[in-house]
Amino acid sequence: MWALIRRDVAQAWRAGGAMLPVVFFLLVATLFAFAVGPDAQLLGRTGGGVLWMAALLAALLPVDRLIEPDRLSGVLDQLAVRGHSDESVAAAKLVAHWLSFGPTLMLSVLPAAALLRIDADALLRLEAGLAIGTPALAALGLTVSALTAGLRGAGALGGLLMLPIAVPVLIFGASVLNDGSGSALKLLAAVSLLLTAGAPFAAGAALRAART
C-alpha cells in the first residue's frame, strides 16, 4: 500500500492539483480582507472563522478527481484483481490525500493569518485545530469522491453532500479559537477521529458498489 500512497502523492504534485486548494485558500483570505476593509480589530476577531470556512471550501476542490480518474482508467479494477480490499485502497488514498492537502494548507495559514491580523496566540490555536481537523476534511472529501465517482456533475453534488456533514468540524474548529479550556479541541478531535476512522469503510463500500 505504500506504493499506492507514494504514487497518489506524486500524482497530486505533478498535476499541480496539490497547489490548487492552497491558492484558493489564500485567495479567499485576501478577498475577505478586501471586502471587510482595513479594520484590524474586526479582521482579527472574525479572521479565524473565515480561515476555517476557507479551509472547508478548499477541501471541496479536489473531490472530483480523487477517485474518478482511477475508476475510469481501470486502476481500481487492477487493484481489486490483485486482492487488495476496497477498504485498504480507500485508506491508502485517504493518507495520500491528506499528505498532499493538510500540511500545505497549514503552511499557507501563516501568510493568510498575517493578512487578517490574527495574533500569535490565535494563530497557534488555529494551527492546532487544523492539524486535528484536516484529516476529517480529507476523509469527507474522499468519501464523497467515492460516492459521486462516475456521476454527471459530481463536483457540485459533492459540495451538497459534503458541506452539511462538515458542520461539526467547522463548529468545533472555530470554537477552538476562543476557548481557553481546551474542551472544544477535544470535541474537534472526537469528531475528526470518528470521520477519519469511518471514511475507509464508507468509501470502500462505495467503491465496491460502483464496480459493475
Binding site: 506504493a3 498535476a15 482508467s73 479494477d77 484483481v81 490483485r82
Partner: protein, 212 residues
C-alpha cells in the same frame, strides 16, 4: 496447483440476463477461448472470473493469482511507460520480471515514452506486458488482439504458450483469429437472447408498422 472452475454460472447485468448455466474447468496448462457475438457477455464472463463481478447464480472457484488485461490500460498517462509499469510490478513484488516481459511484447524500446503518447496497439501491448510480468497463474485476456499487428499477435501467442508450458491458465475472450495451444472453446452464442429483438418487433407491429 492453479485452477479455474465455473459451475453453472449465470450473469445478470443491467437488468438483463447475459448468460446462464456456463460450466467449464481449467487445470494447469489449459486454456479456453470465450467466443460469441457482440454483447453476448464475453467481457462480463471475464470480470466474473476475475472476481470483479458477482455471479448471479452458480459458483466460481479460483486457485492461484489472477491477472486481467481488459480495455482499460490502468497506466498513469503522464509517466514514462517503464515507470508506469513498474508501479504495478512493485505491487506484484516482481520488479525483476518486467524488462523480460516488455521485451516479450516488443515494447522495451518504448520505456522512456510517456503513456499518453503511445498508440492504441502499444498501450494494449503494455497492458499485456503487465500480465506477463505479474507472475500470476491465471491470465484473463479481454480482446487481447484488438489493435495488435500480426507480429504482436505472434508474440502474444508465444507468451501464452510459454505460460501454459509453465503450468499457467489462459482464458481469452475474442472473436478474432487467436491461436492457443490445446485450448477449448466457451461459446456464449446460445445464450444471446432474441428477447430484445422480439419485443421490439412486436411493439412495432402493435404500432401498425407490421406491414413494413
Amino acid at each position: 496447483m492453479s485452477s479455474l472452475r465455473f459451475d453453472d454460472v449465470a450473469c445478470w447485468r443491467g437488468g438483463r440476463l447475459l448468460f446462464e448455466g456456463v460450466s467449464f474447468a481449467l487445470g494447469p496448462g489449459e486454456a479456453a477461448i470465450v467466443t460469441g457475438p457482440n454483447g453476448a457477455g464475453k467481457s462480463s464472463l471475464l470480470r466474473v472470473a476475475a472476481g470483479l463481478l458477482e455471479a448471479a447464480a452458480g459458483t466460481v472457484v479460483r486457485e492461484g493469482m489472477v491477472a486481467l488485461a481488459d480495455e482499460n490500460v490502468a497506466l498513469d498517462r503522464d509517466l514514462p511507460l517503464k515507470k508506469a509499469l513498474r508501479f504495478w510490478a512493485r505491487l506484484d513484488r516482481r520488479g525483476d520480471t518486467l524488462p523480460a516481459a516488455m521485451e516479450a511484447m516488443g515494447i522495451a524500446h518504448l520505456a522512456p515514452v510517456p503513456v499518453r503518447m503511445l498508440s492504441t496497439g502499444q498501450r494494449k501491448r503494455a497492458a499485456l506486458a503487465r500480465v506477463i510480468a505479474s507472475g500470476a497463474d491465471i491470465w484473463l485476456l479481454d480482446e487481447p488482439t484488438n489493435g495488435l499487428d500480426a507480429e504482436s499477435v505472434g508474440r502474444l501467442e508465444q507468451a501464452c504458450a510459454a505460460h501454459q508450458t509453465a503450468g499457467g491458465i489462459v482464458l481469452a475472450a475474442t472473436h478474432q483469429g487467436f491461436a492457443l495451444a490445446s485450448s477449448r472453446s466457451v461459446n456464449l452464442s446460445p445464450f444471446v437472447s432474441s428477447e430484445v429483438e422480439t419485443r421490439f418487433s412486436t411493439s412495432l407491429e402493435a404500432n401498425g408498422f407490421g406491414g413494413l
